[in-house]
């Protein structure tokens, strides 16, 4: 039976190819929309994740209590051992140790006296290790305004506006004045080899990026770091996995009574991002829901139109003795076939495009005057488990429904009426 229907469909283009095209297109669009909305959500938190929160973050209990103060005196010790454990036991993520710090940047004149000075916020990341992806995470390469990135110890980049304010040129020395982990004054000379755009005024006014090992030495934080950030290897945040990870890690390694015991927190627990994600989720669900409904209507309508055209055919078939219910059933089966095949094709096409967008994204940096670290200029899609089946709602159900409703005419109209509509 199926084979008969199938062959029948193949022979009549108007019954197969057009509906298939329409269903595939509709399903592909639905899949694309879903993955795009997910991607936009990810993009919105991406900069926060890359710069501040990671997908998960590990700090000490005491550091967490005062996290907004960046209390390096409460930093994690024994980083080498912790990183080794993470890399062996939690292999789904890439792990990066970082130090955030504050201080003054003092620019000397020829005689070593202060020429200019300004407050600075800093972030120390692993720039120099071969294979480190920290530069990519922070979009450093693209955000360079002048000069280059650090290539050896003792080199830093600072925000471009800050460099202008300090009247500082590339290649000049800047002395960082800060506090060590133990509270002593820390002073260190750096060479400013480049300037970057952060994209957020607060950072652009006075921020710097240094290599982790340099700052560990300067701040007397050998084998220590303020925080360890973990990123899922695909660079897409997965809340379910993150929460599982947090539970597992804290069960194994966190001791609540020990101020300096490491504790893991997820992205959603930081900087109000949990609220943000839930709002955006809500918003996205509404958009996708409405889209699915409208797309379902379009495909239902298409199914309806398809059946309307075939009233003449039904008339003939009734006239030669085919049973009403049999015709109706074949109509449904055909719709089912169209719906399934169309949905599979459409989902396949949609996923292919979505996958490309997930991996490569749409790079709009050419549209922006200058790339920056904190504003993403590549927009990506994000495929989740829902993406795989969401197309089937309009693709299969709506098509079926359309045919089912229009097919009722088979029961309601007189054979002769259907026959006459052959000519319409």
């Amino acid at each position: 039976m199926i084979k008969f229907l199938f062959l029948g469909l193949l022979r009549d283009r108007s019954r197969s190819i057009f509906p298939l095209l329409i269903v595939s297109a509709g399903v592909a669009l639905t899949v694309l929309l879903h993955s795009w909305m997910g991607g936009v959500q990810n993009d919105m938190i991406e900069a926060n994740a890359n710069f501040y929160t990671g997908h998960v973050k590990i700090i000490t209990n005491a550091y967490l209590e005062q996290i907004d103060q960046i209390p390096n005196d409460l930093a994690l010790l024994g980083i080498d051992s912790i990183m080794s454990t993470l890399q062996n036991e939690f292999t789904d993520l890439d792990w990066y140790a970082r130090i955030r710090f504050g201080g003054l940047l003092d620019i000397p004149d020829e005689s070593g006296e202060t020429r200019s000075q300004g407050p600075v916020m800093g972030i120390a990341i692993d720039i120099l290790s071969p294979g480190s992806q920290e530069k990519d995470l922070l979009n450093l390469e693209k955000s360079i305004v002048r000069g280059r990135l650090p290539q050896q110890p003792g080199e830093i980049v600072i925000s471009d506006a800050f460099a202008h304010k300090l009247n500082l040129n590339i290649g000049e020395t800047a002395t960082l004045i800060s506090s060590t982990m133990y509270g002593s004054m820390a002073m260190h000379n750096f060479i400013v080899v480049g300037t970057v755009k952060f994209g957020v005024t607060a950072m652009d006014k006075g921020a710097m990026v240094a290599d982790l090992k340099d700052m560990q030495y300067v701040l007397n934080m050998e084998d220590a770091a303020g925080e360890i950030l973990g990123f899922f290897k695909k660079r897409i945040y997965n809340n379910l996995m993150a929460n599982k990870l947090v539970q597992k890690f804290n069960q194994l390694y966190n001791q609540p009574e020990d101020d300096f015991s490491p504790k893991m927190i997820a992205l959603v627990d930081q900087r109000g991002l949990g609220e943000f994600l839930s709002i955006y989720d809500y918003y996205a669900k509404i958009i996708i829901g409405i889209f699915v409904i409208i797309m379902s209507l379009v495909l239902w309508n298409s199914g309806l139109m398809g059946s309307f055209r075939r009233y003449g055919e039904f008339g003939v078939r009734l006239a030669i003795g085919e049973d009403h219910s049999h015709i109706y059933r074949t109509l449904i089966y055909e719709s089912f076939l169209i719906g399934i095949i169309g949905s599979i094709c459409g989902t396949g096409i949609g996923l292919a495009i979505a996958y490309y967008l997930q991996v490569h994204g749409i790079d709009v940096s050419y549209m922006l005057k200058q790339s920056s670290m904190l504003i993403s200029d590549v927009f990506r899609a994000r495929i989740t488990s829902t993406t795989y089946y969401i197309g089937f709602i309009p693709g299969l159900l709506a098509t079926l429904l359309g045919s089912a409703i229009s097919g009722i005419a088979i029961y309601k109209r007189q054979t002769s009426q259907l026959f006459k509509e052959l000519e319409v």
């Binding site: 005024t201 889209f291 409208i294 379009v298």
Partner: protein
């Protein structure tokens, strides 16, 4: 004249089929406008919240004031200019004095910013009135985030230590009289709000301010010595920069929605042409040129679009107006980089959005209506009469 006449007759003659297509297309229409309006509202809401709670209609800053450089604060204050004092007296502006301080919640050292504001001010949507009518020596208003970070709750006492204008230490146990829920991080994180007059006395900076916020409708004055006016373009720069990049994401969404509309009409047109080949043959046999046949079918498609637009207006207008006025409830507030939203989202439908969408959809519908009609060029009337396409 015959073509439009025929087109109208054909459309109306198709009855239910036309209306089904028109309804579906109108849904697509309304969805596009609603979604974009939602997006625009999302972006504008963040600015709105900041304007309501912090920025007003712009701010006069003391020339030494730099919000990103706390070191500047000890020198960032000056006597309130007489001209601006008039505004303040008429509730068209409000003064804020800012200084550094330290609080000691549970023995922890917590550097903060202390902000003094007139409890009776009407310029900003802050619950400053809680700072009057209490018997506490020093009432304090803080935001939820500050409360959480410092481990403070309403009713708690916390020691504040600051320095007066001469650099002499002073300290007091202040009481948290209210914890406000706000989506604007920049009036919440790391700061305490106290009555302006108390602050001016505490710091011996009487009649001085760090910044003066103008009301939304208040016009700034010409230059005032020692004070710099910062307009909303300057103050909202970060949000606007962020919003600009988001438009790319929104554009893709718009494109996908547009494809939806295209799909709705494409389906109809293809079937229509396929099914009506006999009719085409008849028309050509009766003397209509191919071009005119193409025009007829294209016009029919376009008319679907016009009818859809009209129908969309009929039910779409009240629907969208309802949302624009009443907003959509959001489960919780939203925060990112300090970008803020209220508890309701208000979509924004600009005339540009509606008319632009209408035009775009009509153009798309016309093009999509036209493309399948090109086959008609190759149509042989005698074949068409017999029901064959080729």
């Amino acid at each position: 004249m015959i073509i439009p006449h025929l087109a109208v007759r054909n459309i109306l003659g198709a009855g239910l089929r036309t209306w089904l297509n028109v309804i579906v297309l109108s849904f697509a229409f309304v969805t596009i406008i609603w979604t974009q309006g939602f997006n625009e509202g999302l972006n504008a809401q963040a600015s709105k919240a900041m304007i309501d709670a912090e920025l007003g209609g712009g701010q006069y800053w003391h020339h030494n004031y730099d919000p990103y450089d706390q070191i500047s604060l000890p020198d960032a204050h000056g006597p309130i200019p007489t001209l601006l004092q008039d505004y303040i007296n008429n509730s068209k502006a409000t003064a804020i004095l800012i200084t550094q301080a330290t609080i000691y919640p549970n023995g922890r050292v917590y550097p903060i910013i202390l902000k003094g504001i007139d409890p009776g001010q009407k310029v900003l949507q802050l619950p400053t009135r809680v700072l009057t009518g209490t018997e506490t020596m020093l009432p304090v208003l803080i935001g939820e985030r500050m409360a959480e970070n410092a481990g403070l709750r309403m009713g708690d006492y916390v020691t504040i230590r600051w320095r007066d204008a001469h650099g002499t230490f002073d300290a007091l146990d202040a009481q948290i009289v209210h914890v406000m829920k706000t989506t604007v991080q920049s009036i919440d994180n790391g700061q305490l709000w106290i009555p302006l007059d108390k602050m001016q006395n505490m710091t011996e900076l009487r009649n001085k301010a760090t910044l003066i916020v103008l009301g939304k409708e208040t016009q700034p004055m010409a230059e005032i010595e020692d004070w710099v006016f910062k307009d909303l373009n300057y103050l909202l720069k970060d949000i606007r920069d962020l919003a600009r990049t988001k438009t790319v994401g929104s554009s893709i969404l718009y494109l996908i929605l547009l494809f939806l509309a295209m799909l709705a009409i494409f389906d109809t047109q293809i079937f229509s042409i396929f099914r009506r080949r006999k009719e085409m043959g008849t028309l050509m046999a009766l003397g209509m040129t191919r071009l005119k046949v193409i025009q007829l079918f294209t016009l029919e498609g376009t008319m679907h679009g016009i009818l859809a637009a009209l129908l969309a207006t009929v039910y779409g207008f009240p629907l969208l107006a309802y949302f624009a006025n009443n907003g959509m409830d959001l489960p919780q507030s939203m925060d990112s980089y300090g970008v803020a939203l209220g508890e309701k989202l208000f979509p924004i439908y600009s005339a540009g959005l509606v008319s632009g969408t209408a035009l775009l959809v009509l153009i798309v519908v016309t093009i999509v209506s036209f493309i399948p009609t090109r086959k008609i060029v190759k149509l042989n009337p005698t074949d068409a009469l017999r029901g064959k396409m080729k």
